[in-house]
């Protein structure tokens, strides 16, 4: 018996629907069809009237979720692809994210963003949007990297009284498996030491966790012990755990699949440089995707985003500094 990252997301939604009558799911093709990735498979049948197909209207989808939340519901919105959330951007950052601050009325909505690159995804089906949403006050941004986190953090997202942008990684949907669903969860907003080490800290999240762990494994044979920190949520960002790790290792590499400019890696480095400069034995480094749209062809895609090879090269460079 094993469960995939995608199944964990489905199971979390099934549990949320079963346990809380305020929860409903709204998005394109999420109904009887079960969603483009089948993240809502059988939920419409299991929970009649609570899993609703939406017109192709991302703006109105999120607007409706905000209105329903004002009236006490707990909507889960599925964007078919994270990339399409740009159409809903206004509703997310101006409507949902400002409501509590302006009115004292919370806005408990969960917006699921199937994120990140997959083979052949191309420019408009591959984006990672966590940095742009984290930039805006009023949003919580989750980036689960494991089956366990996908399950428990989605349940957390539904329970939290604020708008949560839930960045689930499509590359992990089918490959990543766990033996069973977790019985316990780490607290929201707490980063996790995914692998302890003493020589260098890699701070990462989402699918890049697995590339980074592979590198750490490989480097261990070269007697380089890498500590890997999985941020889990990029907002709030667990600066304390990052700082404590850098205090142990003295070297920081941030790895993200997103574009470099003004991103999560840039934020982590800024915090460590300004608050923990004395902890560093070498300049903090970051590794991101290239500053171009995400390419379609696998050969180009492999050169666009960080991979185990490019991460390993960055680690060797940083160790040599």
């Amino acid at each position: 018996m094993s469960i995939t990252y995608l199944e964990a997301i489905r199971e979390a939604q099934a549990r949320a629907l079963a346990e809380d009558s305020r929860v409903f799911i709204y998005g394109q093709d999420v109904g009887v069809f079960g969603g483009a990735f089948k993240a809502t498979k059988n939920l419409a049948q299991q929970f009649p009237g609570r899993v609703l197909d939406a017109p192709i209207s991302e703006d109105a989808i999120v607007g409706l979720a905000v209105g329903a939340a004002i009236e006490g519901m707990r909507p889960i919105v599925e964007m078919q692809f994270a990339d399409f959330s740009t159409v809903a951007f206004n509703q997310i950052v101006n409507q949902a994210a400002t409501l509590y601050w302006r009115t004292n009325v919370p806005c408990p909505i969960t917006i699921r963003l199937p994120s990140g690159g997959t083979l052949g995804g191309g420019p408009f089906h591959s984006q990672t949007m966590e940095a742009i949403y984290a930039h805006y006050p009023g949003l919580i941004v989750m980036t689960p990297a494991t089956v366990e986190d996908a399950y428990t953090m989605l349940l957390d997202a539904v329970a939290i009284d604020d708008p949560v942008v839930f960045c689930e990684h499509k590359y992990l949907y089918y490959h990543l498996k766990a033996d069973r669903l977790p019985a316990e969860a780490m607290p929201v907003g707490k980063a996790r030491i995914a692998r302890p080490g003493r020589d260098l800290t890699i701070v990462t999240y989402s699918a890049m966790l697995h590339e980074s762990l592979a590198v750490a494994e490989e480097m261990a044979s070269e007697r380089i012990e890498i500590e890997v920190v999985d941020l889990r949520t990029v907002k709030p960002l667990d600066t304390d755990t990052v700082m404590a790790s850098v205090a142990r290792t003295g070297r920081l590499l941030c790895v993200g699949e997103s574009w470099p400019w003004g991103g999560v890696c840039a934020e982590v480095i800024a915090r460590v440089a300004s608050e923990g400069f004395a902890l560093l034995d070498a300049p903090p480094q970051r590794l991101n995707a290239k500053d171009t749209p995400v390419p379609y062809h696998p050969n180009l895609w492999a050169g666009h985003r960080p991979t185990a090879d490019s991460i390993a090269a960055a680690v060797r460079n940083l160790i040599s500094l």
């Binding site: 409706l64 209105g67 004002i70 006490g72 409507q95 509590y100 009115t103 919580i140 604020d162």
Partner: protein, 343 residues
């Protein structure tokens, strides 16, 4: 000509209680007096940010507000002081938000027309006004989930908002879900300075209703009796399960987009035409010619309106402003997930 402009339409039936007409008019009057006061406070430099008035749009606005019931949803546009009052918004909420009192519903965090009380059905607009329609849809669908029946939601827009993508998405969404949405467009001929001919190319906006599967209604927005008849009918149809209703009112904004705008672009012929008449004067003529109010009673009502506005302003001017040192600077309700102030 002047007589026909201001006189009642003899064929016009009053399909509602006369008290409703009186009440709607008195809300219009308070809104007009409030607008005049806000304009003078703006000129005196007493208001931070812009001032956006509803002159010329009060009849439609009041008709919407007064035709809604407690428990209904109202997402006003920026010129809906009359409708807000008719819906039940306290005059103090408006004055406090304009003057930045910390005691107002927005506590100085937002200002002027960006105010509301979501839990009371009065939604606080964001500036991208078309985006409010789907939020109304969301409250209405929540009513459906909760088994709450007989409630409607009104979203008010201008002609400019009808060109936005969110307007299109939301009215289509309401039609697909057959929600009791009443979408009211006050076509005041200009979106800021842009005239109708640069905004849309159909003959009248109401033609769009059929394309969405909504029921369309047109009304002379300067005529209070007509507005009450048409808006209350649209709201009733929505309440009875008729799906989304689309009301388009023709009128002219008798002020600038905001008080910073002298509106020199407004066509002089349009201002002199019947469509440019002042709905407040039309309503007064309707009240007197129908024997509902005498001129002296109108004077009494005006004095009462002035008194209430002056009292509200005097009170709010003594209230404390927000204090940055006392702000918690927290944009989310889950305080344990707030990063707080970064260094």
């Amino acid at each position: 000509m002047a007589q026909s402009m201001l006189g009642p339409n003899p064929a016009e039936q009053i399909n509602f209680a006369k008290e409703t007409l009186v009440s709607a008019y008195r809300h219009m009057l308070v809104a007009r007096v409030l607008d005049d006061k806000l304009a003078s406070l703006y000129r005196a430099g007493k208001i931070h940010g812009g001032v956006f008035l509803g002159r010329g749009q009060e009849a439609l606005s009041a008709a919407v507000g007064i035709s809604l019931n407690r428990g209904d949803i109202f997402a006003p546009l920026i010129r809906d002081a009359a409708g807000r009052l008719a819906f039940g918004e306290a005059l103090l909420d408006s004055v406090r938000t304009y003057l930045g009192s910390r005691l107002g519903p927005m506590r100085g965090r937002d200002g002027n027309i960006h105010r509301g009380r979501p839990r009371d059905g009065l939604l606080p607009m964001i500036s991208h006004l078309g985006a409010m329609i789907s939020v109304v849809n969301g409250v209405l669908i929540a009513h459906r989930f909760k088994g709450v029946q007989g409630r409607v939601g009104a979203a008010c827009m201008g002609d400019g908002a009808s060109s936005t993508g969110s307007f299109h998405e939301a009215i289509n969404q309401a039609a697909v879900e057959r929600l009791p949405l009443v979408l009211v467009v006050a076509n005041n001929q200009y979106a800021y300075s842009t005239p109708n001919c640069r905004q849309f190319a159909c003959d009248t906006l109401v033609e769009k209703a059929a394309g969405y599967g909504a029921q369309g209604h047109s009304v002379d927005g300067t005529d209070l009796i007509a507005c009450l008849n048409v808006v209350s009918r649209a709201i009733r149809l929505a309440r009875e399960g008729g799906g989304p209703q689309f009301v388009v009112a023709s009128l002219l904004r008798l002020c600038g987009h905001g008080e910073h705008d002298d509106a020199t672009y407004v066509d002089a012929g349009m201002k002199a035409s019947e469509g440019g008449r002042d709905c407040l004067k039309v309503a007064e003529a309707q009240l007197t010619s129908n024997g509902i109010a005498s001129l002296s009673l109108l004077d009494q009502w005006r004095a009462a309106a002035v008194d209430s506005v002056e009292q509200a302003v005097a009170r709010v001017q003594r209230e404390p402003a927000p204090d940055a040192r006392e702000e918690d600077w927290r944009a989310i309700s889950a305080s344990h997930l707030c990063e707080g102030q970064l260094p």
